[in-house]
Amino acid sequence: MSEASPAKAYSLHLGVIALLFVLSFLLPEYYHGLLARIMVLAVFAMGYNMLFGYVGLLSLGHAMFFAAGLYGAGLAVIQLGWGVPLAFLGGIACGAVLALLIGLLALRTTGVAFMIVTMMFAQVFYLLILYFATWTGGDQGMVVPQPARVLSFGATSLELTNPTVRYMTALGLFSIVLLVTSAIVRSRYGRVLVAIRENEERTKMLGYDTFSNKLAAVVISGTICAASGAAYALLFGYIGSSFASVQYSILPLLWVLLGGAATTLGPLIGTLFMYYVIDITSGYTSAYLLIVGIALILLVLFFPKGILGSIRQRWLGWLP
C-alpha cells in the first residue's frame, strides 16, 4: 500500500506469472486442466477481493456478476452467433452495466443490509435466468458449441478446447487482472479505497466523494468477475443457472478469506487451496464437505487473516 518496496511486489507478481507459465510444461495432464480452471476462478476471487478486501464491502451477490459475464458471452455465441473476442467483450460489458446498476442501488445501504441487498438482487438475477428459460436454457443450461469456440487470426486459428491454448488463455487473463488490480491498489485511487474501508466518515471529511469512489469500485469488481465468467463460458463451453446461485456468491468470499483479504495473491492461493482440499479429500471419502468445514474453522481460528494475510502479519510485512 505505502511507498515501500514496489520493486519487490512487482518481482513477486512477475515471478508467480512465470512460475505458472513454467508449470504448464511440467504439470501432469489432469492438474494442468485443473489449474487452468482455478486461474479463471481466481480471477473471480480477485474481482471479489477488490471490493471486499480493499473497500471492506461484503457482498453476498457476486455470483450475478460472474453469471452476467458467463451468460453475456455464452448467449452472444449461442443466440447471436458472435465470434469469441466480441462475445468476451460483450460478457464483460454486461457485467459492468449490471454492476453500475446494482451499485447505484445497493450502495445506499451499508454493513449487513448491503450483504442482504446484494444477495437478494443476485437471487432476482438467478430467478430471471430461470424465468427466461427459453433463451437461457434455464437450470439445465446450454452448451456453447465446440466449433464456435475458436479464436481466428486471419489464416491461423486457435481452438480454445485445446488444453495448451486454454491454459495460456487462462494464464493471460489471470496475469492481466493480477497486474491491473495490483496497479489499482497501489495507485492513489487504491489508497482512497482503503481509507474508505478504514473510516468512511473521515475520508469524506478529506474531500472525497466516497459514494462515487465506492461505485467505481463496485463496477471494477463486477467487471473483473464478469471477465472471469465470460472466460469460463468460452473456455469450458457451458453456461448454467447454478453459477448464479447463492453458492457461487459464497465461494469467492471463502477463497478470498482463505487466501487473505486485501492481498493481491490471496485470491489465487485461496482458490488453489480450496480446490486441492476438495480434490484430494473427495478421493478418500464422500464426506469431503465435512473436511472442508473443519478446515475452514481451523483456519479461521489459527490463521484469521487467511494464508497470505497471516504470513504478511508474522513474517513478510512487504507482501502486496
Binding site: L34, A133, G237, F243, Y288
Partner: protein
C-alpha cells in the same frame, strides 16, 4: 413406523465405496474359471476402467446411492461372466455434488487422471449438459442414464450416449394416448419450473392434441418452493385430470397438500413416479394417491407376470418385492430409473466387444460401434424390456409402464409399445467429426 435401522446406520454409506467395488471385481475375477481363462487370453490383462460420475451429495444424492448399488450389481454380474473382452471391469466413483461445474471437472479427472475408458452414470440433466463439453473435448465416450431429452435433441456432441433409458419426450408421447382414452380430456399440468418440467410442458400438449384431449392449464412451480397450496386455486374447476411431475424433496408435501385441498372429490391424477422415487408410497399423507396412476420406467413392485430376467435383476440388485432394499423395507429404491445403469453397462459391453475395444486409443471405434447398434432384446441384459436404438441421435426407445396405486402397491395396468414413443429425429450426431 419404527425404523431403528434407518437412522444411525453408517454401513449404508460405506457399502458402495470404490474399494468395495474393486474388491468385488477382483473377487469375482479370481473365483470363476471361465473368466479366468479369458482373462489370461486377453491381450491386456489390465481391467477396463469405467468412471462413474455419481450424485453422492447435493440434491441428487437419493438417486446416486441406488445408481451405485445397481451399477455394482451389474459389474459384479459382468465380471462373473468373464468381463468385457476377457477383461475385468473396474468402476471408479467420483462425486459431482449434483453440480454441473463440478461435473465437468470430474469428467476431466476421469479422462486425464484416472484415464478411464469411458464415463458413465449421470442422472441430473444440468450435470449432463454441463459435463458434455468436457466429454467431447477429451474425446471421452460418456454414457448417461438421465432420461432427459438433451442427448436426443442432438444439442450435445458425438461422445454422449443414452442407450439404457428412454428419454422424457418419448415417455410423454407414449403416455398421451392412454391418458386421453382412460383418464380424461381436460388436463391441467403441474410441473417444476425448470428443465425437467419444460420437457413435459412442451411435449404433452401436442401429444394430447393428437389424441383429441387438451391441456387447459399449465402451472409451473419455482424450484425452491416448499409449500404448494397457494397455487392450487389456479387449477381450473373443469379439470378432469391433474398431470403432475413434481420432483425433489418437497414432493410429499405437494401430494399431501393436494389431498387436503381436494379431499375425496378429486379429479383423476396422473403422475410421473419421478415424484416419489426413493419414497415409500405408504408414507403418511400419501393415502390420497390411492387409485391414481403413474408412469414407471421399470415397475417398483414385483408384478405377477415378471419375466425370469426381471426377477434375476431384482435379486442381483438386492430389492424385495416392494422395491425396497432387502433387509430394510424403509429404504425404497429408485426402481423406475436405476435399471438404466444395468442396461447401459450391458450396451457398453456389447459395443466394446463389437469394436474389439482394447484401450483408450479405440474410443472412436467404440463410438462408431455404439452408433451401429439398433436393437436390444429383452433378457438378462435388458430386464426392463426390449428396446430399439437410434444411432443418429444416440438414444434408445423402450416400452413404458402405467401403474395404478392399489392397496398400497403400484400395479402395472398398461404397457405401451415402443412405436408409441417414436418421434422424428431432430438431428444427426454421426455427421460430426470424431
Amino acid at each position: 413406523m419404527t425404523d431403528k435401522n434407518g437412522f444411525f446406520d453408517l454401513s449404508k454409506s460405506t457399502l458402495t465405496r470404490r474399494t468395495a467395488l474393486k474388491g468385488l471385481a477382483a473377487g469375482a475375477g479370481l473365483g470363476l474359471a471361465p473368466g479366468f481363462v479369458r482373462y489370461s487370453q486377453a491381450q491386456s490383462s489390465a481391467p477396463i476402467k469405467i468412471g462413474f460420475q455419481s450424485h453422492r451429495t447435493g440434491i441428487g444424492a437419493a438417486y446416486g446411492r441406488w445408481y451405485e448399488k445397481t451399477t455394482a450389481a451389474a459389474v459384479k454380474a459382468i465380471n462373473a461372466a468373464g468381463g468385457i473382452n476377457g477383461r475385468q471391469v473396474e468402476v471408479i466413483i467420483e462425486d459431482d455434488g449434483t453440480d454441473p461445474g463440478r461435473g465437468a471437472e470430474v469428467v476431466g479427472k476421469f479422462a486425464t487422471q484416472h484415464k478411464t475408458d469411458i464415463v458413465f452414470g449421470t442422472l441430473f440433466s444440468h450435470v449432463v449438459i454441463g459435463s458434455a463439453p468436457a466429454a467431447g473435448e477429451n474425446k471421452m465416450p460418456y454414457f448417461v442414464v438421465s432420461e432427459g431429452h438433451h442427448v436426443a435433441s442432438t444439442k450435445l456432441n458425438r461422445y454422449v450416449f443414452q442407450p439404457g433409458i428412454t428419454d422424457v419426450k418419448s415417455q410423454i408421447e407414449s403416455m398421451a394416448p392412454w391418458i386421453a382414452a382412460n383418464a380424461g380430456k381436460k388436463v391441467t399440468q403441474i410441473f417444476p419450473d425448470f428443465a425437467f418440467g419444460y420437457d413435459h410442458r412442451d411435449y404433452l400438449p401436442p401429444a394430447l392434441k393428437a389424441q383429441g384431449a387438451d391441456v387447459i392449464a399449465q402451472i409451473a412451480i419455482p424450484p425452491t418452493e416448499s409449500s404448494f397450496t397457494k397455487f392450487f386455486p389456479q387449477i381450473p374447476a373443469e379439470t378432469e385430470v391433474i398431470y403432475h411431475v413434481m420432483v425433489g424433496p418437497a414432493v410429499l408435501t405437494f401430494v399431501k397438500e393436494l389431498g387436503e385441498f381436494y379431499g375425496p372429490n378429486r379429479p383423476q391424477l396422473f403422475g410421473f413416479i419421478d415424484s416419489l422415487e426413493a419414497t415409500d408410497i405408504n408414507s403418511p399423507g400419501l393415502e390420497f394417491l390411492d387409485g391414481s396412476h403413474f408412469w414407471e420406467g421399470s415397475p417398483r413392485y414385483a408384478q405377477a407376470d415378471d419375466s425370469v430376467a426381471q426377477k434375476a435383476y431384482r435379486t442381483a440388485v438386492g430389492i424385495d418385492d416392494n422395491g425396497a432394499a432387502v433387509g430394510d423395507p424403509k429404504d425404497v429404491s429408485t426402481a423406475a430409473h436405476m435399471f438404466g445403469c444395468w442396461e447401459t453397462l450391458y450396451v457398453v459391453k456389447k459395443a466394446m466387444e463389437d469394436a474389439g475395444y482394447k484401450g483408450p486409443e479405440d474410443r472412436a471405434k467404440l463410438v462408431e460401434a455404439t452408433e451401429a447398434l439398433t436393437e436390444f432384446a429383452e433378457g438378462p441384459e435388458h430386464p426392463q424390456g426390449p428396446k430399439t436404438f437410434n444411432g443418429k441421435i444416440h438414444q434408445c426407445f423402450g416400452i413404458q409402464n402405467i401403474s395404478k396405486v392399489e392397496g398400497g402397491k403400484l400395479k402395472v395396468v398398461h404397457k405401451t409399445k415402443i412405436e408409441d414413443g417414436l418421434y422424428e429425429a431432430e438431428g444427426d450426431y454421426t455427421t460430426q467429426a470424431l
